[in-house]
């Protein structure tokens, strides 16, 4: 027991010192840390409930995906069948009931059509499944059903792209350290500390921002088209007012040909978005406008026609302006969204939590006061109960607080409000180890053992109990870490770290202190 070699002492003190030093940068304001050249040092992040900010959970609209894939496939089938030589005549094409069906007019072409259709499907990963099932019904009709595997693969790829785009859009806000992570198969979690206007945030990330320029079909009969008789190669869209408009399916240019988008003002001094196209887009736009002077074209955002200006003269410069009842803010949000590219999949908000910066500051303040009082109360209580041994336990508790903070900084962990509660609880449970040890020493003394032997037995017997108790405690904390969300996770992190570090400080450190004291003072009796 008394045998505590110098290297052991040095390493215990070394580890604790490193822990304490790591905690220091997190205890000062960030500006102070930077001004004394500590900006490289790891810091503890404050959770949204302490720093204030917005938490938004987005979910992909997977029902929309199936629909979108059907309509894309419909377009592909139409154009591919036309390209075949001899051309395969198809008709009665429909996307009802979640399947694409069409009729092959010449039954002798059926095999060719099926072969062509099969080449348009792709394998899903290495599952052996394909992304579309192709069937022939009544020997004239081809039925294509999107498979779940195909949809899942599409969603998976689309989500990866969506995360990047959401990140680009939020980075454009210039806020500090946003968190954008994919959760599960179809969700994205966005956390922006210090940003407490979720409306602005959602306007920015909720928009798909699919931009298309299409020619308006002025020859089409609007009433007939609205009733479902759409001319081949056309589609019916809605204006912002809700009025229908017939446009060509084929887009002149899309948002992918965009080079730059920025908020600006139009000739009427209303907020608008100025866009520049890349050379390919500019060429396509110039060619189309040259041959269509006098005809209107539609500017379409997320399948809504914002405006349909008439082409006065060929537009050769490759730039355009989008207007349509914008405020400067919404024009800015649209510019950012367009610049970042369209979301490959529609996202909707399923959860939103915002904490104002005022409440966060109040919570930190209250948390610090409560923790300080808790520490002082525990320290006094331990001292009056265990005297010198209580002092050692108290030193361990205080060091433990710093070491937990240091470990959190090192792991770049997030401190949440329940995390502060975790701290207070850890103070209580860290003391438990010392209570166990000290009570055991008392017991052994009562049984008449000598000083050194009592202390040794106390530590030895209690250590086993402490280990077992901490393992079970850690099981509960670990479950919270895995299944909990946000603030609860923060609580679990503190609890887990506290369990680990408290064993070190409460057992090893106090044991060292006691051993050093016993060796130096060689007391005949101990006051415990």
């Amino acid at each position: 027991m008394l045998d505590f070699p110098r290297w052991k002492i040095a390493s215990i003190i070394g580890v604790l010192l490193v822990g304490i030093l790591l905690a220091i940068p997190s205890l000062m304001p960030e500006s102070t840390a930077r001004s004394i050249g500590l900006s490289w040092a790891p810091r503890i992040n404050l959770g949204l409930d302490l720093a204030g900010g917005s938490h938004i959970l987005l979910e992909a609209d997977t029902a929309d995906v199936a629909k979108m894939r059907l309509s894309t496939m419909e377009d592909t089938i139409r154009s591919e069948m036309r390209k075949e030589s001899p051309q395969i005549q198809i008709g009665d094409i429909s996307t009802a009931n979640g399947a694409l069906t069409f009729f092959v007019r010449d039954s002798s072409q059926l095999d060719a059509a099926v072969d062509k259709v099969r080449t348009l499907t792709a394998p899903v990963g290495s599952t052996g499944q394909r992304d579309w099932n192709v069937q022939v019904v009544d020997s004239t009709r081809i039925v294509m059903t999107p498979t779940q595997g195909g949809i899942d693969q599409f969603v998976d790829q689309a989500m990866t792209g969506a995360v990047d785009i959401v990140r680009k859009r939020i980075d454009a806000l210039g806020t500090k350290e946003p968190t954008i992570v994919r959760q599960g198969t179809d969700r994205i979690l966005v956390e922006v500390p210090g940003f407490s206007d979720p409306a602005e945030l959602k306007a920015l990330i909720g928009k798909t921002a699919k931009l298309e320029f299409k020619l308006v079909d002025t020859t089409a009969d609007l009433a007939k088209a609205a009733a479902g008789q759409v001319p081949i190669g056309d589609e019916v869209l809605k204006m912002q007012t809700g009025a229908p408009i017939v446009v060509q399916r084929q887009a002149i240019i899309t948002g992918t040909d965009l080079k730059r988008a920025q908020q600006s003002y139009d000739e009427n001094n209303l907020a608008s978005v100025a866009i520049d196209f890349n050379s390919r887009g500019a060429r396509a736009f110039a060619e189309t406008t040259q041959v269509n002077v006098g005809k209107p074209f539609a500017i379409i955002l997320d399948d809504v026609v914002l405006s349909a200006p008439t082409i006065q003269t060929a537009i050769l410069g490759g730039s355009a302006s989008i207007s349509g009842s914008f405020t400067p803010q919404s024009a800015q949000a649209l510019a950012i969204s367009l610049q970042s590219g369209a979301l490959p999949i529609a996202l909707k908000t399923v959860e939103e939590r915002t904490v104002g910066p005022g409440l966060g500051a109040d919570s930190i303040h209250a948390g610090v006061i409560a923790s300080t009082i808790a520490v002082v109360a525990v320290i006094v209580f331990m001292f009056v109960t265990y005297g010198r041994f209580g002092v050692y336990a108290n030193m361990a508790v205080i060091i433990n607080v710093f070491v937990i903070l240091g470990a959190m900084a090192l792991l770049n962990a997030t401190l949440t409000l329940p995390g502060i509660a975790g701290f207070v609880l850890t103070i209580g449970t860290a003391v438990d180890a010392n209570v166990l040890i000290n009570e055991r020493i008392r017991e052994e003394r009562r049984r008449g053992r000598g000083v050194v032997q009592s202390v040794e037995m106390g530590y030895k017997e209690a250590s086993r109990t402490i280990f077992e108790a901490n393992v079970t405690h850690a099981i509960a904390a670990f479950i919270m870490l895995i299944l909990g969300s946000g603030p609860v996770k923060g609580f679990a992190v503190v609890l887990l770290l506290g369990i680990a570090t408290s064993v070190f400080t409460a057992v090893l450190f106090t044991r060292m202190m006691v051993a050093l004291w016993l060796r130096r003072a060689r007391p005949q009796a101990i006051h415990i």
Partner: protein, 329 residues
Amino acid sequence: MRLLKIVPDNTNIGFVALRRWAFGLTLFLSIGAVVLVGVRGLNFGVDFVGGLMIEAKFDHQAPLDDVRTKIDSLDVGEAQLQQFGDAQTVSIRLPLPASTDEGANNALVNKVEGALKAQYPTVVFNQVQAVGGKVSSELIRNGAIAVFLAIFGIALFGIFRFEWQFGVATFVSILHDVLMTFGFFALLRNYLEFDLNIVAAVLTIIGYSINDKIVIDDRIRENLRKYRQMPIGELIDLSVNETLPRTVMTSLTIILALASLLIFGGHVLRGFTAAMILGVIVGTYSSIYVSSSLLITLGIDKSRFKQMNQAVDKKKAARERAERIAPKP
């Protein structure tokens, strides 16, 4: 200086003799808690039922009636007003709008905020939460899974590390602790909301309560080896009494720390801390009166320990023999 001893030395309280009373009380309280939860229900937060919560802070006493009339006039569903914090702060709860449209939540928040802001220009919105139906049911499911996993995981640990009787006894007393917490929240449903944080509190209570029981179980196991002839009732009493100073000391320290959090920690954590303090109290009760006494009812198998002891003795004897043959240098 005389040191404080909360529990006097060498207590000899007959806990085991009281066990029938304790079991009766425990059963009564547990059934009471279940009935309370059934009848009164829990005041679930938006985390678990979905909907909107807006916490508004006024620069004077919150005009509750006026706020209610104002929101009712917006026709956005039935608003629930609650005051968890100070008199200036009010939390407004609204059901989720029927529309599944992405903008619906946000429009609703804007509508309520706009109306209040027009009437009271100095009002500040401290917190806004909007949780959709799908997410809230997932949160409920995860919470329930977490609590069950924790109870079972720890009971399993008890079975492997000790004997099955220990695992079962711990399981029963922890179930009691959890039920008590639920009952407490049903009783105080007008003051305390049951949200995600409370699940964390329940898990912590489980962790703490286990901690307490393991310490006593550990001592029982130790004494089973030490006093092989002692009747089991006496042995459990001895173990509980021996660990009593530690049990009381630790519970008091933790309650001391938590009380400071309850009083000074702000209103956001109030439910969380209240749950934890209650948990520590019921956990201590069940450790002393329920889990260890239950071992007798479950009929702890002393013969198993005898076998274990014999195995330990054999090993010891073998080691001693080996040392005799080849003495250490």
